[in-house]
Point group: C2
Chain length 412, copies 2
């Protein structure tokens, strides 16, 4: 059961002019489920993305990176194709060949070059991509293309997700109405190094390509790059921004403009909603945990401490048990690898309850207060390092029996 997460209301998902979506049941791994998505873009869209830093990156990540970098200045990406059921990762040269075949086939059907198509895959690692099933499914995707098809698209990219993740926002940018709509998937193998498993955010805003690239990188840092389920960085992480430029506004061309800031805030908000939805639907999650580390010398040390807490199996099982065994959090702070950390200056809060200070339990702390907060389904852990002004936030979930069950039975 996901933590305080509902299926998206179809009426809340706003079409983005210039993007149409079609899905089908291609039977890639299992029958009777949507497992193939085509996102078709009108000409002129700016597309930028960030990808996994895993050295064993999937073949589609390799091909998508190539296509983005080799695109002619005058050309634009015309389609994204996403399959679930097979990650096409750990598949060597053959995997790259099948990812290219997928692009070739879609390019032929819609009449563009293969480099104008970006491929994405998610599912089991080290199994060959059934490219013939994908090719067979593409015409049905194209026949069903619609601008108001975002919910079906979110459904078609799910693996162990229990709910589709999709959200929309309307922004004002330079006085113009701008729409931002995004979808994402992911529940396990979640510790994105550049982006989450798969996230796609589209907007009709007009901005040039360098700005699209800057925007997607910065939005990832505020959203997908700040979540973890299990510390396992996937081979397939990809977060793509599509800017169709169909909104009635001048092109944004300066990262220092108010328009860029407004767009960054809007895109980041959509991406953070999606990233948090992934945690709420994290494998076996029963609690949604926000870890906020403040008062560090640099942001990087705040992130280290936050991830040390977020990855500790002992901390995560204590959350699952609603057990205020909070010394485990101090232990995780202590081994986070922050040089010269003075532990007697560290303060630990659980929501508004001061748990520890001066290197030990706070004199005013009563276990009943800790127990009260631990019972909640949403908990904020706040650690004050008291040695600087930097801060960082990470979102995570607990470690439950269902996580073990799901991952011990994933392929069966």
């Amino acid at each position: 059961m996901p933590v305080n997460l509902k299926p998206p209301d179809p009426k809340s998902l706003l079409p983005v002019k210039g993007v149409s979506l079609g899905v089908t049941e291609a039977g890639i791994r299992k029958a009777d489920r949507k497992d193939l998505l085509v996102m078709k873009l009108e000409t002129g869209a700016r597309v930028a993305g960030v990808f996994t830093q895993n050295r064993f990156c999937a073949a589609p990540v390799t091909v998508a990176r190539q296509h983005l970098s080799m695109l002619d200045p005058g050309a634009s990406i015309r389609a994204l194709v996403v399959n679930t059921g097979c990650a096409n990762a750990g598949t060597g040269k053959e995997g790259v060949a099948t990812a290219r075949q997928t692009c070739n086939e879609l390019a032929r059907l819609i009449g563009c070059s293969a480099a104008q198509v970006l491929p994405f895959s998610t599912g089991v690692i080290m199994e060959p991509l059934p490219v013939e099933k994908i090719a067979a499914g593409l015409p049905a995707c194209l026949a069903g293309l619609r601008e108001d098809n975002w919910l079906a698209a979110a459904q078609a990219i799910m693996t162990t997700d229990t709910l589709p993740k999709a959200t929309s926002r309307r922004l004002k940018v330079d006085g113009a109405d701008v729409t931002v709509t995004g979808i994402a998937k992911g529940a396990g193998m979640i510790h994105p190094d550049m982006a989450t498993l798969l996230g796609f955010v589209a907007t009709d805003a007009r901005l040039n390509l360098p700005l699209a690239r800057a925007l997607v990188a910065r939005a990832a840092e505020r959203s997908f790059n700040r979540i973890t389920v299990d510390g396992d960085t996937s081979t397939n992480d990809s977060f793509m921004l599509i800017a169709t430029g169909r909104a009635d506004m001048p092109e944004v061309g300066d990262v220092k403009s108010a328009a860029f800031d407004a767009l960054l805030d809007g895109v980041s908000a959509v991406a953070a909603d999606l990233a948090q939805a992934i945690i709420r639907d994290g494998e076996g999650a029963t609690k949604f945990i926000t870890i906020r580390v403040e008062g560090g010398r640099k942001e990087v040390e705040c992130r280290k401490v936050a991830y040390s807490i977020a990855h500790s199996p002992l901390v995560k099982t204590a959350f699952f048990a609603s057990d205020p065994n909070l010394g485990r959090i101090l232990a995780a702070v202590g081994y986070a690898g922050v040089p010269d950390l003075a532990v007697d200056r560290v303060e630990l809060y659980l929501d508004d309850v001061l748990v520890a200070k001066n290197g030990g339990r706070s004199p005013g702390y009563r276990e009943a207060d800790g127990a009260r907060v631990m019972k909640q389904s949403e908990i904020t852990v706040r650690v004050l390092l008291n040695r600087g002004t930097a801060a960082a936030t990470v979102w995570t979930c607990d470690l439950s029996h269902d996580y073990v069950t799901i991952n011990a039975e994933y392929r069966t």
Copy 2:
């Protein structure tokens, strides 16, 4: 149920001349269990240790470090005192005071200075040490001191361990008979940065103090520092070497001597047995996994890859399920953070089965072979990086439902 681990045979545990051990039921946390140990040393013993690198190190670690460094050249450590049930960690200044009180009380009883006593604690973090119960139990420990009491000592330091860990070896050093006997405890919060939760190895060998220090550090690198259950580095890790000097041999005084090598091999073998026993008895463990990474440029990168695999919850749950979902191992290799790792040169073996090469599944690999090895209770994962001559080995266990159960219920 521990993995291929039996209780030590009391007859196999060899006394070490100059070390006597006494235990009692002090009622520190639970009634009717041995929870307090005194190891009394005759004068002249060399004692050296390595301790946790956790910044939130426990009060007894702080005090033991101080006592070892402030000891007069002519004096020697006369006793070690170990309690279970309370870690005395995350307890601030008060914790240091209670650790000192424990030393003072034992020093008074045996007639030495407090600096000649080393304190050790293990158990729950962030709870005050019940020093009055410890003081009340010390006379019973002293009344029961015996040289052949190693099994009772191993029992008295257990927490979530299901079996005591103790082992002995006889060595020939410079033609002399030398005995090495050790005990250890630990099952969770196991990812020692310098040593495991608690390990004590005694020998009657004669060696000077600088060599004892060198020996304990090197032996830790070959044993306790190469294991992980859950990646949680404890606040209390301590690995102590006691050399009583009672064997009939000249004092070892040179790290480049054959005698030092023989001692290092013997002490390391005892320490590795104990470290592996901790993994076999790891919380919820059903499998004992050896991870061997070869062909790295440096040992540190081999260790990075080995720990990345050993800490991956997805890899660990796959072992629990006996599921050859081995792409998860490739993913963990890929995100280990080895710069410029050429994944198409990586080879992955499961025992003698070649699973992956050239960046993907080996053409000759059959899933039935992987499934056969995954069913075993002892499995070796071998990763060849094929870019150098360095290697590293790490021992770990799987992640099971029982791990979650044990840690969700530890305090109740």
